[in-house]
Symmetry: D2
Subunit: 247 residues, 4 copies
């Protein structure tokens, strides 16, 4: 079965990591882009097509199980006979950075919704498809999950954000241990960085050092490398940060 | 202000750790026991009273913010003028131990509800009271949170359980970093053990070795030690396990 | 066998943690104090005796296997028939805090010598004695090892110091896993603090906050608690730091 | 400056990871192979040359500072005007897997010698050269260090082995934090695997599953990826293991 019989899906696409990962994987596969709003993916879909790739977008809130189920039904219709080679989960609400006593339980729920429940719903639909690709996909079928500094560390004023990120990491670990032996590569990428995107243009990070924010394209190369790892040498977790980042 | 001007509250009380912690802290303070159902705390309340201590129970689901608010109002009425010296959060739903594709999002939600949302609600009510005790409580006011092996490790078939436990740990860390400098001791106890309670009597653990399950009373001594630590030497996290436990 | 049939040994005694631990354990046992130089332990030995306890000191470099062997022979002669209940390893050279390219291999060797080789030599002599006490010591026989922030984190300019501390932690973990099931409690204490001793009197730590340095006596209470833990609930590792310490 | 103005050095070359890394980097650079004995590198040097690459070997014990200094002098003579782009430290003595009380301090010293002192000596010579390459090397100059399962975990009967591996990881972390901001990429690879080499041919690993041992070539691809990461997205640490490995 040729490599154009496979596709990739990237959830959480926008100007940063998700978009760059979609573009990178589009060099090898048709790519489905998933975001809550069309304006998050429409430009990237157009860009991929213009570069000669195949792509389309679907609007869905991954925290909503029915919406995710519906998205995967749409994919099956749009890409009949194609099999899933890679699924990337890059969704995760922004940090609130507020004192704990000013947070509401809705802040916590929102972080949980996008980071943990969303990954859960996405993985429940993606994993059965990835399992079907174990024998013939060009690279081991992969589920790659985006984490953050807060995946490893509950800092002051990051209670809601860290709770969601920790839970997401727990899921990624558990899935790696359950599905790795079945041939699916589940990896967790801890991005310890501000991403270099238009929205962060005016952020002064790392004293304004050149390359002091992570380039989405650079991150995407690492996601691609993870996907291409041989099954005798899977990485479950790695960190990425600018050379000047304190850690 | 004398030590009988202070009280402790233990959420998640039953035959195991929570009950033993309540009994231990009742040697020093009146204790409020919080559980979803009266049958979880009624025996222990009676036991504490019989031993000459003060205790009463309140039924509340900690994952429900309104129920927690109501419980704390009841406490203020029942213990007028008393201040909070220690709050222990020992709630956390049992593990499901099922393959990921057999779980439903309700399993995940349930783990999140009791482990993370419950601690969030409880801490939002307890922390303002603990802050008020910083200057005069007999020991640094403490919020002690119970974790598990799954707080550090997402094992295969523990996706839902680990997600809740990781999120709980994130909260405990973040609260320690925010409230420690204000004088409140937030600690997280990783219990890597089967607890020795009637329900686990027939479990063969650690090849049936004597003391191969953790004694709730032994655990309670460590909770009490954490509460009594001087503010110049707070422990944020420790593990506890039977001597024969593999780790 | 009565508790005065047992003794404790503390290696690495001076004005700080080791001295306070020796004083604390001397409330229950005769204590042997081990340091490279008599001036490190002589005052504390005198202090313990004045308070009605039993103590004596031995000069030895724990990194020197023959010196450690000789020290344990002396102990057997001085305390005939007594058995070892607790051994504390608190030795560890100070940090150099210099850029890596200014360090010499002797700096690294020195950190290794006191932190890792010293613990190795000490444990090889103490563990057989602790094993003999499993059945009758008042508390589970214990080997407690002092670590530092650098046990978990290799910071810039801490290459030599962190290498020794990491190695020491590896030993403590390995010994816990081998000797725990045999009934010996091996614990590792990560002290993330400046200790409040005469030498650090003029250090401004944590903006000069009261109790911003760890009280040796407070630390010693936690060492004692570790020693008294029931074998069904051993702690392998915990951290301790002042409430105001950033982490 | 063209890429053939740069070279790579790999210390700890044999039939496994080191040899495969040397072959992989030889596709881009002349490669210097360092091992204690010529028989460890001579076949690989020949293989690289036959494939059209440039390579030569030097015999040196990295734990011996003078031998390492001499090796780097030889390199400067053999490759006049060339600059160092990548240095890989893959040295580390085998595990003894013996009960602690059967080990001698020489076992510990030996693990320290090859894992920690060796990396220290190697890094002291390599880092000044890597710093000189920051502005013009084809990829950020890199120091990549090989770790093992025992870098993170002190298992029973791995006291000596784990002590060396922990110390090595401490050095790698400290160097990453000191030299990263200067533009040198220091990464640590945790190989949680048996390597698939002639010596392990008859080991039954992971129930004999295909690809149950790590392919050296697969590992080498990940080392190469680390070297090619953009400076805005450096990985400091990652794990690699066969899909069927328990962890």
């Amino acid at each position: 079965m040729a490599s154009n019989s496979f596709y990739a899906i990237v959830a959480g696409v926008g100007a940063g990591t998700g978009g760059a990962v979609a573009r990178r994987f589009a060099q090898a596969y048709p790519v489905v882009l998933l975001s809550r709003k069309p304006e998050s993916y429409s430009d990237i879909v157009a860009e991929i097509k213009q570069a000669g790739g195949q792509a389309f977008g679907i609007s869905a809130d991954t925290g909503d199980a029915a919406a995710v189920a519906s998205a995967f039904e749409t994919i099956q219709k749009e890409l009949p006979g194609k099999k899933l080679a890679a699924a990337v989960y890059n969704v995760g609400a922004g940090r609130s950075f507020r004192p704990f006593l000013e947070l509401t339980v809705e802040d916590l729920d929102s972080s949980y919704h996008s980071n943990a429940r969303g990954l859960f719903n996405f993985a429940q639909k993606a994993l059965p498809l990835l399992l079907e690709s174990v024998n013939d996909s060009p690279h081991p079928p992969s589920l790659i999950v985006t984490g953050a500094t807060a995946s490893l560390r509950g800092s002051a004023k990051f209670a809601d954000f860290a709770a969601g990120k920790f839970a997401k990491r727990a899921l990624a670990q558990s899935l790696a241990r359950e599905f790795g032996p079945q041939g699916v590569h589940v990896a967790h990428v801890i991005i310890d960085a501000v991403i270099d995107i238009p929205r962060t243009k005016n952020y002064t990070v790392n004293n304004g050092a050149p390359d002091g924010k992570s380039s989405p394209e650079a991150l995407a190369e690492t996601y691609w490398h993870l996907h291409t790892q041989h099954r005798s040498a899977f990485t479950q977790e790695l960190d990425v940060r600018p050379y000047v980042e304190k850690f």
